[in-house]
């Protein structure tokens, strides 16, 4: 019994040490290494130059600021679209709910890149949306390779991540609570603000985290839908690594991103406690 327990625990621990702790430690190690010509392109030393550069140079700082802004705006957009959606599914007749929920998840299985490809086709200058706009007399607009296209792509991709945990939370609320509140004279908007919204907050936070965090580090969507000006931190890291072959700088960007991602929830918690 004892031995079995040790084995059951040892395997995940060993796995996590090798594939989580070790890689993150190595990233930190490379972040303080020196770039060098060779394979691999670094020399292990102890220098804070890379980290200092990444923390102070406007290129990286702006990338980080832009990423946080894009992620925040996208999360808010997902929340505004997804909350009523999750609520509607939770309120739908029981026999429909499973199908509706499946329909939220289904796009996952069509391939992320395929859906981005579809958006490229829709948003191009000669694409369907522009054809529609021209027909309406508004005229063709440059849509692809703009911030708008990038936001559409991020919201489109991550909307299900927000809806699912939020639905899970909302569906567990006792409908009698609302009846009780309404019975005690609360108008519907007040029932929503005072009863449903506060009780669904854990689901809101979970959903927002699942959108915000990957969105901050997003590479593919800004690369394919956004313009060259959309230099998000994921794109900068990618560029340092693949184009400039500057591993220590790429690792430093990763460290900076990680620190910011750890700090954001901590700051949020402190701000909320006040």
């Amino acid at each position: 019994m004892r031995a079995g327990r040790t084995f059951v625990l040892a395997v995940p621990w060993a796995w996590l040490l090798l594939f989580l702790a070790a890689p993150l430690a190595i990233v930190t190690l490379i972040a303080v290494a020196e770039p060098a010509d060779g394979v691999p392109p670094y020399r292990l030393t102890w220098t804070l130059d890379n980290l200092r550069l990444v923390a102070t140079d406007p290129l990286y700082r702006n990338a980080l600021g832009l990423s946080l802004k894009v992620a925040a705006v996208s999360t808010l957009a997902c929340l505004l679209a997804g909350y009523p959606m999750a609520l509607a599914i939770a309120r739908a007749p029981a026999r429909w709910r499973e199908t509706l929920l499946l329909a939220v998840m289904l796009p996952f299985w069509t391939g992320f890149l395929m859906r981005i490809n579809a958006w490229i086709g829709l948003l191009r200058d000669d694409g369907w949306i522009n054809t529609l706009l021209a027909w309406l007399g508004i005229g063709r607009l440059p849509l692809l390779y703009t911030d708008a296209a990038m936001y559409v792509g991020i919201v489109y991709t991550y909307l299900p991540f927000l809806v699912l945990p939020l639905y899970a939370r909302l569906s567990r609320l006792d409908p009698e609570l609302e009846h009780a509140a309404a019975d005690l004279g609360a108008p519907p908007w007040r029932v929503f603000l005072r009863i449903i919204l506060p009780l669904s907050l854990p689901g809101v936070w979970a959903g927002c985290a699942l959108v915000f965090i990957p969105a901050v580090g997003e590479y593919v969507i800004p690369e394919l839908l956004g313009g060259p000006q959309a230099q998000l931190v994921g794109r900068v890291l990618w560029g340092e690594f693949f184009q400039n072959r500057d591993w220590p700088t790429a690792a430093s960007v990763a460290v900076l991103l990680l620190v910011v991602l750890l700090a954001v929830p901590a700051l949020l918690v402190r701000a909320l406690r006040r």
Binding site: M114, R115, N117, G121
Partner: protein
Amino acid sequence: MSRALAGWLVACYAFLYAPIGFLIVFSFNDGRMVTVWSGASMRWYVALAHDQALIDATLLSLRIAAVSATLAALVGTLAGYALARFGRFRGRGALEAALAAPLVLPEVITGLSMLLLFVVLEQLVGWPAGRGATTVTLAHASVSVAYVTMVVRARLAGSFTTLEEAAMDLYAPPWQAFAFITLPLMVPALAAGWLLSFTLSMDDVVVASFTSGPGASTLPMVVFSATRLGVTPEIYALATVIVTVVAAGLCALSLVRRHAA
């Protein structure tokens, strides 16, 4: 449900499905343009069937996805079981946090850190030699463990303890209680976790791009570089094939479930 909510729901589903409908329609377009309709044709499906690079990439991706999902299922089951069953133990909090970490790490960080791990490992112990299918598989498995753990743990939470006790009460030693009761009841969760891991692996560009090497391009990597050069209806044809396979799989699954119930 109020009318406004229902209307919003319809709009959201339209938003989610319109692009998919669009690419299915245009996969049958005869022209080279993905925006101008020039007659129905299967030519892009024919082109797809002759695109050896794409077929090789698909086979490679399927292999990587299957192996990494299986690996993740093995490790994730143990971790999920420990978290659901062992109550309080030393390092529980750390294990929980570490298992959740891949869920909240941006892909670029996961990709970069895994690559650096493989580079250092090769220097230190000579394995894995070079980068390719093996390294991508390991990287994908390392992310997927978190998902399998989550699903298995949710399934195991609380509900089976009495059933295991009942089995032991009826003369089953602990390992038999696990084999005859816990394991069969975990199958749906395991299948869900495996499928989720498989999907994540099939869908990933970023981690694969970091951890792969020459000659080992996964399907998403090939599609990604093709997309950068310009969208072709061939990719839409591929997407339609994927949609068809997934839809067929879901139909088969629901038939099996209806039959079993």
